[in-house]
């Protein structure tokens, strides 16, 4: 083989390697960043109603056993497997979270305390799988995850000082009959319904939110996997000015 042919082969091989690397990078980066839909909530009367649920599993093809949040589209009422949503700046944000996952003790039980919501409280109702309501509109500032294990996950926006323990179905009364198909429905599954409100910042920006319960099963310290992946137990709230 001549020198020119060898050089051409070398250059061709180099370009192939670079091209494959570029494709793989774009493929994975694209997969990680562009596939999640953003749910846009519009204000009505100075308020928006954000509706979320957290499930023991999810309906993704690749990570079906990860715990996950879902976000409800306000128009279609469909549950979308995303943790990205937007709210208008300066509005009152009313959040409803349906907790379908079982209880898990917080690593730091300080986060059993509700912080950053209007009034510093949340209102909780709990239902069993037969639809029986055994806790009705309990307004509380603490949901103790250690003494009675009624916390499934948390909804925290640290930059706004918002830390909300999300109630789980009552552990003893639910007796392991947790929802097993996501997105979960309130019919036939034990769940907790929790509501609270906070004021969106008056200026636009992106605020990350996360769960503080170490619920990334199979990962070091329970903080890998769904805890570090958008669309599962962490997300972003866009405040649109």
């Amino acid at each position: 083989m001549s020198v020119a042919a060898r050089a051409a082969a070398l250059i061709a091989a180099f370009l192939v390697v670079v091209g494959v690397g570029f494709f793989v990078s774009v493929y994975y980066i694209g997969a990680a960043t562009t596939q999640l839909p953003i749910v846009h909530y519009s204000a009505s009367g100075g308020q928006v109603n954000v509706v979320l649920q957290e499930d023991p599993q999810n309906d993704s093809a690749t990570k079906p056993d990860w715990v996950s949040y879902y976000t409800q589209d306000p128009a279609s009422k469909q549950w979308l497997h995303t943790t990205l949503f937007s709210v208008p700046a300066g509005t009152k944000v009313n959040v409803t979270i349906y907790g379908f996952d079982g209880c898990t003790p917080l690593r730091n039980n300080y986060f059993s305390q509700v912080q950053g919501t209007m009034g510093g409280t949340v209102t909780v109702s709990q239902f069993d799988q037969n639809g029986k309501e055994y806790v009705t509109d309990d307004t509380t500032s603490v949901i103790n995850s250690w003494s009675d294990c009624n916390v499934g996950h948390t909804f925290a926006i640290p930059a706004m000082g918002i830390y909300v323990p999300v109630a789980s179905p009552n552990a003893k009364l639910s007796a392991n009959n947790l929802c097993s198909s996501s997105p979960c429905t309130t019919s036939g599954n034990p769940y907790a319904q929790e509501t609270f409100s906070f004021m969106a910042p008056s200026q636009g920006g992106t605020y990350r939110w996360q769960c503080l319960v170490p619920c990334g099963g199979g990962y070091l310290d329970g903080n890998g996997g769904p805890m570090q992946t958008l669309g599962f137990m962490m997300g972003e709230m866009d405040v649109v000015s």
Binding site: R107, Q113, P214
Partner: protein, 338 residues
């Protein structure tokens, strides 16, 4: 800068009869010229560094440790600038003055050492290094570790009384426990019933002992404007000291890569008057008492085992069987640490 290497100029009457004397005279002239230039530049640089630059050096002067760090960086800069200028000046001088002239194809003079130059260099650099060693030691001991974590058994501590309660107007050390977890900081105040807060409040002109620990991976507590930085290791009580000297806000960051939200692991702290601090701390304590938060917290300890729930008295990895729900707790051993 004139060049004077031309053997035919009157200032350099080098002759074939006495080349050594002529060379020595030329060397002395270069040395004095270099010294004069260096002295002016070094003096100007040191004055600028000390009076213009130092007051703006990080981390500022908000605390005793920050002030010492600013002073230390100023001293190091003032010490280092003349050395830096000497090296660069000689480098440039040699390029300009000792460069080969057109048509000069000869070799350079063979040089076999110069006792004065070598001795001056060794003595000078040794003196600087020894000075910095002594200076650094003094500056580490004086401000009680200079704001750095000293581990669980600190060698140096701030002057002040260790007490189980704290009140303004005393010289009692305020104990603050800093707890890191992915990806938030919280703070416990054992002298206020062990109350915990996501806000860091400190009283001005009060010695503070930070007890830094972690509930999961390694973090690093960095109160930037206070000049305090201490690693937060799980199962370790890392102690750091400072005294806030000015009112105002400061930023707390994590300075140890700890996961995907490491960059967002920060919050703001406040230095307030001692009476305002006591009012705030007592208020939080009373609220947490009435809300049941204090009862929900584990007893104050220097470190915590996150796999144990004290209220249940059980290891929480087995709690699933107790509650009957499908919750799990993923402790540090899940999976086994690689």
């Amino acid at each position: 800068m004139a060049t004077t290497e031309n053997p035919e100029t009157p200032e350099n009457p080098e002759t074939p009869e006495n080349p050594a004397a002529a060379g020595a005279q030329s060397d002395a002239r270069h040395a004095w010229r270099l010294f004069a230039i260096w002295f002016v530049l070094a003096l100007a640089a040191d004055l600028v560094i000390w009076f213009v630059w130092k007051p703006h050096l990080p981390p500022g002067d908000m605390s005793s440790s920050a002030r010492h760090q600013q002073f230390d960086i100023g001293v190091l800069a003032v010490t280092g600038a003349p050395v830096f200028i000497a090296v660069v000046l000689y480098f440039l001088y040699a390029i300009v003055v000792f460069r080969a002239r057109p048509g000069d194809d000869g070799d350079g003079e063979p040089i076999y050492g110069n006792v004065k130059v070598q001795a001056s260099w060794i003595i000078g650099t040794s003196a600087i290094v020894l000075f910095l060693a002594v200076f650094g030691t003094i500056e580490l001991v004086g401000p009680a570790g200079a704001g750095a974590g000293e581990g669980p058994s600190p060698i140096w501590s701030l002057a002040g009384k260790q007490t189980t309660s704290w009140s303004p107007g005393t010289n009692d050390i305020l104990e603050v426990q800093v707890i890191g977890q992915q990806w938030v900081w919280t703070y416990r105040y054992p002298q206020f019933g062990g109350m915990e807060s996501s806000e860091l409040y400190l009283p001005v002109n009060t010695p503070v002992a930070f007890h830094v620990t972690s509930l999961d991976v390694i973090h690093s507590f960095w109160a930037y404007q206070l000049g305090v930085k201490a690693d937060a290791n799980p199962g370790v009580d890392n102690v750091a000291y400072t005294t806030a000297k000015a009112l105002g806000g400061f930023t707390v960051r994590c300075s140890e890569l700890c996961g995907i939200w490491h960059g967002a692991m920060f919050n703001e702290g406040q230095v307030v008057s001692p009476t305002a601090f006591q009012s705030w701390a007592s208020g939080v304590q009373a609220k947490e008492q009435s809300d049941g938060v204090l009862a929900a917290l584990p007893a104050y300890a220097l470190t915590y085992d996150p796999t144990v729930v004290p209220q249940l008295g059980k290891n929480i990895v087995t709690i699933d069987g107790i509650t009957g729900a499908a919750g799990y707790y993923y402790g540090p051993g899940n999976p086994v640490t690689p």
